[in-house]
């Protein structure tokens, strides 16, 4: 089943002359992990809002085409229906936290599904543990640092047991090691769910491609409201490099793409140590 199915989707925000998205055709299968990237203002967050049904239900503008999320036509389903399957973690997490304690925020979704109290408690415990903020359970979201708020927002989505999660720049407020930890725990969560027979589709909008390269199976590059590249991560990045699309290609690949043909390198290095040992190998083979 397709988790996401966009057919000729276009959207123009009210008051804007330009289309934010123009004629997007996009299928994402259940269980996929997809990175969406592209220059800022290119339409990435607009895609996220359509998947959640926030467009066209909560944003005014001109929508055309058809969009389905797990078979639900977003035009025919209220946001509350879609929210039972899909969760989103927004760019500015403080915009989605609104109660007086982290615990209440995390419990809010399950409470609205009218789940029994024991079940809600279990989900809150699990979710706080997964993102590592059990100690902030009774803190007010307002008193948290940016990174802690990001984690609280993620916990409040996890407690809904979603089939699809959209992350809009999930690590933007996190320090380097917390970013790596968070990405790892997102994918560990996916693995755990799949061991139990569940499926989780992940759509991650990020500029920091390097963080996700080892985790995603597909990268989509949006530019100026259109999908310009879509496919296997490394070849998408190489095409972006050749076409000079300004995305954050990791530094190690910036160098690799520039020298691979001239130095006869066959596979991309994971880090500098590997790059240097490949270079040594290549040079000794040539002269060896």
């Amino acid at each position: 089943m397709n988790a996401v199915d966009f057919r000729n989707v276009s959207f123009r925000y009210a008051g804007s002359e330009k289309e934010a998205l123009a004629n997007i055709n996009l299928k994402i299968e259940e269980g996929e992990s997809v990175l969406i990237t592209g220059p800022s203002g290119c339409g990435k967050s607009t895609i996220a809002k359509i998947i959640m049904g926030l467009i066209p239900h909560s944003y005014t503008g001109e929508f055309s085409g058809e969009a389905y999320v797990f078979g639900m036509n977003i035009l025919e389903n209220p946001v509350s229906n879609i929210a039972t399957k899909c969760g989103i973690v927004f760019q500015n997490p403080e915009n989605q936290l609104f109660t007086f304690s982290v615990e209440d925020d995390v419990a809010f979704g399950p409470e609205n599904l009218a789940l029994p109290p024991e079940e809600i408690r279990k989900r809150v415990d699990e979710s706080l543990k997964l993102v590592g903020i059990e100690h902030l359970r009774y803190s007010s979201p307002n008193s948290l640092s940016g990174g802690e708020q990001q984690k609280a927002a993620i916990a409040s989505i996890l407690s809904m047991y979603p089939s699809l999660i959209v992350f809009d720049e999930p690590t933007s407020m996190l320090d380097p090691s917390s970013s790596i930890n968070l990405i790892q725990s997102i994918f560990r969560l996916k693995e755990e769910l799949e061991k139990k027979g569940g499926r989780l589709t992940l759509i991650i909008i990020e500029h920091r491609i390097g963080l996700l390269l080892d985790h995603v199976s597909r990268i989509i590059v949006i530019s100026d409201g259109r999908i310009v590249l879509d496919g296997e991560p490394l070849s998408v990045l190489y095409e972006s490099f050749k076409k000079k699309i300004p995305i954050n290609i990791p530094p190690i690949l910036q160098i690799y793409f520039r020298i691979k043909d001239r130095c006869g390198l066959e596979k991309p290095p994971k880090n500098l140590k590997e790059l240097f040992s490949y270079l040594r190998e290549a040079s000794s083979e040539k002269h060896g």
């Binding site: 925000y13 008051g15 804007s16 592209g38 220059p39 800022s40 203002g41 290119c42 990435k44 967050s45 760019q91 500015n92 403080e94 915009n95 008193s143 948290l144 640092s145 940016g146 990174g147 802690e148 809009d168 720049e169 933007s172 407020m173 996190l174 320090d175 380097p176 090691s177 917390s178 970013s179 500029h207 300004p246 995305i247 954050n248 290609i249 530094p251 190690i252 910036q254 160098i255 520039r258 020298i259 001239r262 130095c263 006869g264 500098l272 140590k273 240097f276 270079l279 040594r280 290549a282 040079s283 040539k286 002269h287």
Partner: protein, 277 residues
């Protein structure tokens, strides 16, 4: 006040009302004109709290922060703002005007710039930050990265002597990061000072000479940024990462800090000179 700014922080302790623990403990340092400083540290280390103490948004619980010798307790936030600009991490907190143009003009009007100056400065920053086409739009209609650019533009426009930026590169693509980097470098070369709070160590290393590293509300390192970010102990303590360029330099043994990827690649090929065809 004279046309540059010097900040002296002495035995600064800060505690939020109702909090049990101090968010900042025993902070001491001086900032002189023309400095480029990165404030680094793990989430919750106190970086933003420190920045807000420097521009008078927060006042010390104990100790003092002096701007050109005057205690911030005796200065109004507005007066400080003329000299010290602050770009907060969430642009939504900063915007209130109906259009991008008005947002940018607000500071200029308040600081008594003339009509001509206002118009000229407005056009300049719109161009520098690639915001010309949004001039008459609402700030809230912009995308995340565009908002971030507007937030910086609307402060930089009145040319404060010291500019503090909280996570300026969030939501920015490669080209925009380079652009911001260049804009900030130019400010420093004009004798202005900048302080960047960031987790983006690669950005910090190409921009800042000095780093103040915080952990748990205390300074664990203050000095040459490149030295601090080559120090495994500091990196570990503050949950940082060694910047790519420093790693690269350690491997090849010479400096590449101001070079772009084209020239770095050429250098590498020269190092492994036997492998070029």
């Amino acid at each position: 006040m004279k046309n540059m700014v010097e900040i002296t922080v002495e035995n600064l302790f800060f505690k939020y009302p109702d909090a049990e623990k101090y968010a900042l403990k025993n902070i001491n340092f001086t900032i002189k004109e023309g400095e480029s400083i990165a404030i680094l540290g793990e989430n919750g280390a106190g970086k933003t709290t420190l920045a807000k103490n420097l521009n008078g948004l927060l006042k010390p619980t104990k100790g003092s922060v002096k701007i050109d010798g005057v205690d911030t307790r005796n200065l109004s936030v507005a007066k400080i703002a003329r000299k010290i600009g602050f770009v907060c991490h969430n642009p939504d907190h900063q915007f209130f005007a109906e259009t991008v143009e008005e947002e940018i003009k607000f500071g200029l009007k308040n600081f008594g710039f003339t009509e001509n100056e206002i118009e000229k400065s407005l056009l300049d920053v719109l161009k520098t930050f690639g915001l010309e086409e949004y001039r008459h739009k609402s700030p809230f209609q912009l995308s995340g990265g565009e908002k971030k650019r507007l937030a910086i533009a609307s402060i930089i426009v009145w040319r404060p002597e010291l500019l503090i930026l909280d996570e300026p590169t969030i939501g920015m693509d490669y080209a925009q990061r380079l652009n911001i980097q260049n804009v900030l470098k130019n400010l420093v070369s004009e004798g202005k000072s900048i302080i960047v709070i960031t987790h983006d160590v690669d950005f910090a290393v190409s921009l800042c000479r000095r780093a103040i590293v915080l952990s748990g509300g205390e300074i664990v390192g203050d000095g040459c940024l490149r030295k601090l970010l080559s120090n495994p102990e500091v990196i570990e303590k503050a949950s940082l990462r060694k910047p790519f360029l420093i790693e690269l330099e350690e491997e090849i043994g010479f400096s590449v800090i101001d070079e772009d990827f084209d020239s770095i690649s050429e250098s590498l090929i020269r190092v492994f000179d036997k492998c070029h065809s």
